[in-house]
Symmetry: none
Subunit: 208 residues, 2 copies
């Protein structure tokens, strides 16, 4: 069995990643539009290759109806939707570990990562310029390291947890608020413990 070409792999990946965006198997024309291609016939060749590779199956007995992924392919992308632990609010001056799970919150797949996550409610305005407001919920991937420029939950001096942009240089860790009225804080690496990285954010506009 032949190995996939680059474009075939691209198209398969697109199908795998976007299967949830189609309620029904997409037709060739729909796929063309989604892939920004102009020719059905060109796409058709790739789909046939994927069919031959066993990665995609014709929908309706090779007649009409579009293509859909094989069962194996679908498994790969499917995840069970389950609530994330909601552990309280941040900027409350307490380490996250001290907070017990208050409840569980159902969160869209798109806002999670594939690693363990939890949900916090934001208190304060330190990140308003990043579009994170007082009262928002944030989805945090549990992780002890971060890349510069990421928004992290950082535990300072083992006592206070905050949500800030992080900038780690040699011998110095900068925690940057997204608020012109606040100033950046500088620490030594051993003073700061990263407890997680921001992967999602949610806000309710309902009156309460």
């Amino acid at each position: 069995m032949d190995v996939l070409t680059r474009r075939q792999r691209e198209i398969f990946n697109f199908l795998r990643d976007n299967q949830d965006h189609f309620t029904r198997p997409p037709s060739l024309d729909e796929l063309c539009a989604a892939l920004d291609m102009a020719s059905r016939g060109s796409l058709y060749k790739h789909i046939v290759a994927l069919i031959n590779a066993g990665l995609v199956e014709p929908f309706n007995g090779n007649k009409q109806g579009g293509v859909r992924l094989t069962v194996q392919a679908r498994m790969e992308g499917d995840a069970v939707e389950q609530g994330l632990p909601f552990v309280g609010s941040i900027a409350a001056g307490k380490p996250i570990e001290a907070l017990e799970t208050v409840s569980y919150m159902t969160v869209p797949e798109a806002l999670k990562s594939d690693k363990p996550c939890y949900v916090l409610q934001v208190k304060g305005d330190s990140m308003i310029e990043a579009g994170i407001f007082d009262g928002d919920w944030v989805v945090i991937e549990q992780r002890s390291f971060a890349n510069n420029g990421e928004i992290v939950v950082a535990l300072i001096e083992n006592s206070e947890a905050t949500l800030k942009y992080i900038e780690q240089n040699a011998g110095q860790v900068l925690l940057l608020p997204a608020n012109a009225t606040m100033t950046a804080l500088s620490y030594r690496p051993e003073q700061v413990e990263i407890q997680g990285v921001l992967v999602g954010q949610m806000r309710s506009y309902r009156p309460h």
Copy 2:
């Protein structure tokens, strides 16, 4: 059992998503109007297909009275797709009604209202100062009226849908962006149709 065709899927989805909007089972003519179809006979074929698939049941012993969903159909809608209909992106210049449900998105209870809701993806920066960024998802409560100061999905001149603050005075409707680089738009009431009100917002920070 035959697999549903694309159009049958669409119509079933429409029935499932809009069953709350009909106090009684809709007649074929009512459904035609709702689906913007001109021929009862054409729709009838689709309904029969849905009946044969066990997804829809005739209301009054195949006599008068319209169609309504079977219990199974309701189950499917509730169990399989627990999420809200995701109907596409806004600021794409298209009325919402023209957009079909492309997928479903699981949304936290706290971001919904108790009325029917749907999800849109935001395109553009017109609401950045309200903390709504390009690429964010918004949960919209389906509603044709709004209070001043609410953020609404407004259909302008029956052709373009946008997300803006609304301010309705006598004989004038103001649509206010939350972006200092953009200006407010003023319309006559009959030029603006409110399609929904913002009740929730979500953002993903995952790279993709």
